[in-house]
């Protein structure tokens, strides 16, 4: 089978545009928020939350079958058109949000009293969610394809409701983050100094963690766990490798995230590759390019430093300054 052409993608854009928009918006939102995630050294948090969201979706499929197995099977037998959700309560996105917010509580909880680190609790959430999703996936044969799409991000087409939710989340959460980005940087960089100066550190951290949970949950439902994890880590790393100006880091991460989502989708269509994996690979290629560029710049700076004659150094003005000898008692 010959690979699809760009013209075919363009000709069928009406079918794929929702998925492309969702990928671009999710990439932009997670790219921006991901800067905080990377700087606060909690990259595995988004992975654990994405896994928790996937478990939530799996549960939303499995619980109705558990409660009413005959009705659920009859629904499937009647075909996709007749297969309706038994109740709005079993809407997968609600379960994804609930599971994500539960996982987010791990950030807010203080694990020191349990003599554990936050990373170990995140590992626990990741493993429980991953194992749970696979086990439950094994029980729900009818929706196994949907679940695989969520876990590995192979959703070619995005439901309109998911696009609306991702759009709403992007507008609201990105708006909040644009307003609070300096405050969030301050409380992440120097939390004690921020608290002393009267910054609402707990509220700001709560906003960050809840926004990460919501963004990851909604985007995971639309795109899958793998690209969501990728979008919340790789664009921020790329931006940090490219520039050291904090404002530009956020701008660049947003652009790289959006580009990874859209370009990854287009490449996956052209080369007939899995969507989520291709979006992740696109982000990884951009990061590799940024790291190589960083390496070249660092080597150039080293060469310049070596070529500077020592005589250009300022004279030691303080050499004649009498400094009293110090006695460090403690």
């Amino acid at each position: 089978m010959n690979p699809a052409s760009w013209q075919e993608l363009w000709a069928n854009i009406a079918i794929f545009k929702d998925a492309i928009w969702a990928a671009g918006l999710a990439g932009a939102l997670l790219g921006f928020i991901g800067v905080h995630v990377v700087l606060r050294r909690m990259v595995f948090a988004s992975s654990a939350i994405a896994q928790a969201a996937a478990l939530g979706v799996a549960l939303s499929f499995w619980v109705p079958a558990l409660i009413d197995p005959i009705g659920h099977a009859a629904g499937h037998a009647a075909g996709p058109a007749a297969h309706v959700l038994p109740s709005p309560l079993f809407e997968p996105v609600l379960w994804a949000i609930a599971a994500s917010l539960l996982a987010t509580l791990v950030f807010i909880a203080n694990p020191v009293r349990l003599h554990l680190t936050r990373e170990s609790l995140l590992g626990f959430v990741f493993l429980v969610s991953g194992a749970g999703a696979v086990i439950i996936g094994d029980k729900i044969t009818q929706e196994a394809h949907d679940l695989a799409a969520i876990l590995f991000g192979s959703a070619v087409v995005v439901q309109t409701i998911d696009l609306y939710l991702v759009t709403g989340a992007t507008v609201l959460l990105l708006g909040g983050h644009l307003l609070l980005w300096r405050a969030l940087i301050f409380v992440g960089y120097d939390p004690m100094g921020a608290r002393v100066q009267g910054m609402p550190v707990r509220a700001l951290n709560g906003f960050l963690f809840v926004s990460v949970g919501l963004a990851v949950a909604l985007c995971t439902r639309a795109l899958g766990a793998l690209p969501v994890f990728a979008f919340s880590v790789l664009p921020a790393m790329t931006a940090l490798a490219f520039t050291a100006r904090i404002g530009w880091v956020f701008v660049l991460a947003t652009i790289v995230g959006a580009f990874s989502g859209v370009a990854g989708y287009a490449v996956s269509f052209r080369a007939e590759l899995p969507v989520g994996a291709t979006q992740t690979a696109t982000g990884a290629v951009l990061l590799t390019g940024a790291l190589l560029w960083r390496l070249v710049i660092a080597q150039r700076d080293r060469r310049r430093a070596r070529s500077q004659p020592l005589s250009t150094l300022p004279p030691p003005e303080r050499a004649s300054t009498a400094v009293a000898p110090r006695t460090d008692a403690a």
Partner: protein, 238 residues
Amino acid sequence: MLHADALTVGYDGVAILPPFRFTIGAGELWAIIGPNGAGKSTFVRTALGLARPIAGAIERRPGLRLAYVPQQSALDTIFPISVIDFVLMGLQGSGNVTLTRRSAHLGAARRALEEAGAAAFARRQLRDLSGGQRQRVLMARALATDADLICLDEPTNALDAASEQEILTLIDRLRSRRGAAVVMVTHLVEDGLERADRALLLDRDHGVALAAPSAAMRAAPEFQHIYGRFVARHGHSG
């Protein structure tokens, strides 16, 4: 400015030091001294209102503005923070959380940098500076806060002698020009007592929490017990 009576500090509901009292007045320099693990950080957190006292109470003057200068090692070098952006953080607070009008505050940040002798590296990354330069920038942020009481956590830690003198001079300037009270946690007991008006000696292991004028501290039996052999060795028996 700040007064505590029968204050007991600790954590998880457990006191780590005996009750003590102190009063920090405007323009005073306090040296917080004591061995490692003495409870200095717990005291500072309590004094700054970040931790609740186990017993007793701290009274702060209404409207008292506080600032905290962390140890350099507490600042994560992964953050790409420019010097000017770091000093601008000093202008954020409960009344200005978002700092949306950054340009309106640039003048105050630049003045603080000039006062700290750090204006030349305003556009550089904080993580790329030497220890002495970075400490001056940290002091600049404290200046920018215009706080009434500034708490410095080991401000001369890991600095060479010249940089240390520069920082101590800046601390003196904070007090003399701005009338700010300064609380300085330090491991340099001799320097701390020499410069400070008053000292607070803490030692969890020996159950010591003693506030006294610096001149009187050297003669205190508790001080002699903890530091006597060091002071005698260096010939500063006071």
